[in-house]
């Protein structure tokens, strides 16, 4: 076991000790047809980048290989920090991979995904 793995296991143990939810409770209901309204070129750009770089592990912002992104009110700065640092098994995206503008566009899109999901849920509840 190398150092990184020790930190990782320690991190995991702490998370458990804190009663932090992993896995199923982190997920969120999928929504068909609840794609976000993207009214700016920047958001469209964020969508395309998300599909190339993030969607494979956070499909549609829901959980998959990685946790759901659309069920927690993470501030944009925290999302950007996660993108740049790549915690755990998530890959780290350097400035060669994604520019500062790219990261901005992606985080805006993640917020749009989150809003689209809560709108869809409200509509479903109102029915």
């Amino acid at each position: 076991m190398n150092k990184m793995h020790i930190v990782l296991v320690a991190a995991g143990a702490t998370a458990v000790a804190l009663g932090v939810a992993c896995g199923s409770q982190q997920s969120s209901p999928p929504v068909a047809g609840a794609e976000p309204k993207l009214d700016t070129a920047e958001l469209k750009h964020g969508e395309a980048l998300f599909m190339r770089n993030c969607n494979q592990c956070h499909p549609g912002g829901a959980g998959g290989l990685g946790p759901a992104l659309n069920n927690k009110p993470a501030p944009k700065g925290a999302i950007a920090l996660v993108i740049r640092t790549g915690p755990g098994q998530m890959p780290r995206f350097s400035h060669d991979d994604l520019s500062a503008d790219d990261v901005d566009a992606i985080t805006d899109y993640v917020v749009a995904l989150r809003n689209a999901k809560s709108d869809a849920e409200e509509m479903a509840a109102a029915k």
Binding site: K3, M4, H5, V7, L8, V9, A11, G12, A13, T14, A15, V16, V20, A21, C22, G23, S24, Q26, S27, S28, P29, P30, V31, A32, G33, E35, E47, A48, M51, R52, N55, Q56, C57, P59, G60, A62, G63, G64, L65, G66, P67, A68, K72, A74, A78, L81, V82, R84, T85, G86, P87, G88, Q89, M90, P91, R92, F93, S94, D96, D97
Partner: protein
């Protein structure tokens, strides 16, 4: 430990999700509670794109894998006759009559039967070939059976797939690889085929020069429990490779799209370097597209976190298997991203071949198992030019761990941008199959095809396939044929 990673963990603590993937047990959709309840399909349990409705067309099918339509527009379904977990049944071509009754048009034992397309009075059928090797077969209206190609290398993990019949008189088909990432290992023993075919391995389509990477494992082929095997790429189990060794290319080969004339003749190479090129379809713009399943985190050379792919097939091109993922070279990928947490750094198996692969047209979720596809061609249905793709769903934990079930849905993809959204997905807590959420929704979509008018999208749902403590089990007579109809269409 890099400072960046540490900072990442601290952020995760703040978000409440630290180190999840490393500590939780896998949460795949196939990991259902047993026993499985009898299947009662119910469209109301599925969320579909607003403006469309879902209908049940037929049920009680056994492992259906494909669909086509005859001259009269009748749906003809293919039953695979095989489920992972080594349940061998009979492959069948079954016509669904207006009253829901089923008429068997052909049957056979060289399973799994993976796909079918009707054209000009004939059915072009792919025999996946676990038993006798892959075959492309033409079946006439009179039932006459003509073998167009045979002995395709299908004794391994993946089979012969497809087909797509072109306007050029050729039947295009996919051939999956024997192994996960080029090296025969204990995972192949567990799947069952290494016992049956101990000398089977991947075959390159063109000459490759090996880097001499070898992998040491236990040797289940010998009685001695302490016996070890050293295995190299494109070689049989327990055969070591040397640096600079050249493996001769030949056709038919593994991990390729190939074609054969509708009248038979030699098999020709179209493109190679795929892993499991499963669904093949010509788009309205005349281009050929293929879905391809990415690597698993298993076996002697496990790979982590790569997507499934949609590729535009360019003639003569190499698409990267076994050394590239998502269009990136794995051994130099940034942040070592394809190396599993407790795995060895992934090194290339072959010295560079041809030109590097292109970027995928689209990336599907990791382990979602992208399978059959079709393109909308009719404004009445909408989304013209977009691809509709069946996501069979994860086979976790056999293929690697996931935090949530992945797939079990139909997505639509814009091939121009790679942007995709769910088109049909089960309602409920998360995207899991009916057997896991105990509802009446989708189980494992494996093929989608539009009816001849292009107004209705048919979904072939393979049925229940459970992965329990590494034992995979299929349930016969749980397959369903669904269709999605726009509100304006009867």
């Amino acid at each position: 430990m890099q400072h960046a990673k540490l900072l990442g963990y601290l952020t995760l603590f703040a978000l409440g999700g630290a180190g999840c993937l490393a500590i939780v047990s896998s949460q795949g959709g196939g990991e259902a509670e047993l026993p499985i309840e009898p299947r009662a399909p119910n469209p109301r349990d599925v969320a579909v794109q607003p403006g469309y409705r879902l209908e049940v067309v037929a049920k009680d099918l056994t492992y259906p894998s494909g669909i086509t339509f005859d001259d009269q527009g009748r749906a003809v379904v293919l039953e695979a006759g095989y489920a992972y977990g080594e349940d061998f049944a009979t492959g069948r071509l079954v016509r669904i009559e207006a009253d829901g009754k089923k008429t068997v048009l052909a049957q056979g034992k060289n399973v799994p039967w993976t796909g079918v397309q009707y054209q000009g009075g004939d059915f072009y059928l792919v025999e996946g070939g676990t038993v006798e090797g892959g075959r492309i077969v033409k079946i006439g209206q009179d039932g006459k059976r003509t073998v167009l190609a045979e002995n395709l290398p299908s004794f391994g993990d993946h089979h012969t797939n497809g087909p797509a019949v072109g306007d050029d008189g050729y039947v295009y088909f996919g051939q999956g690889t024997a192994t996960n990432s080029g090296v025969v290992g204990e995972d192949n023993w567990e799947f069952g085929w290494l016992k049956r075919h101990p000398a089977f391995h991947d075959i390159p389509c063109k000459d490759v020069t090996l880097t001499g990477e070898n992998f040491t494992t236990d040797n289940p082929l010998t009685e001695d429990e302490d016996d070890e095997a050293v295995t190299g790429a494109f070689l049989p189990f327990a055969a070591a490779s040397t640096k600079g060794q050249v493996i001769k290319g030949q056709v038919p080969c593994s991990g390729a799209v190939m074609r054969v004339s509708k009248d038979g003749g030699p098999v020709e190479l179209v493109a190679w370097g795929f892993r499991n090129p499963f669904g093949l379809r010509f788009a309205p713009n005349g281009k050929l597209y293929v879905t391809d399943n990415g690597y698993d985190t298993r076996g002697s050379r496990p790979v982590f976190g790569n997507a499934d792919w949609l590729w535009e097939v360019e003639k003569g091109r190499w698409y990267g298997w076994p050394d590239f993922a998502d269009g990136h070279r794995m051994d130099t990928a940034s942040d070592n991203r394809y190396t599993p947490m407790f795995g060895d750094h992934i090194r290339s198996l072959v010295t560079t071949m041809d030109a590097p692969p292109p970027a995928p047209t689209a990336l599907f979720p990791v382990h979602s198992s992208a399978t059959g596809l079709d393109f909308s061609r009719n404004a009445k249905f909408g989304f013209e030019g977009q691809a509709f793709v069946a996501l069979f769903g994860d086979m976790a934990a056999n293929v690697g761990k996931v935090l949530n079930p992945v797939g079990y849905s139909v997505v639509r993809v814009d091939p121009k941008t790679g942007v995709m959204y769910d088109f049909a997905v089960n309602k409920g807590h998360r995207s899991e199959p009916a057997s896991k959420n105990e509802g009446g929704g989708l189980e494992r979509p494996v093929d989608v095809k539009f009816d001849p008018a292009g107004e209705k999208l048919y979904i072939v749902d393979y049925g229940t396939l459970v992965v329990d403590d590494d034992v995979t089990q299929g349930y016969r007579r749980t397959g369903v044929l669904w269709r999605i109809v726009p509100d304006g269409v009867k």
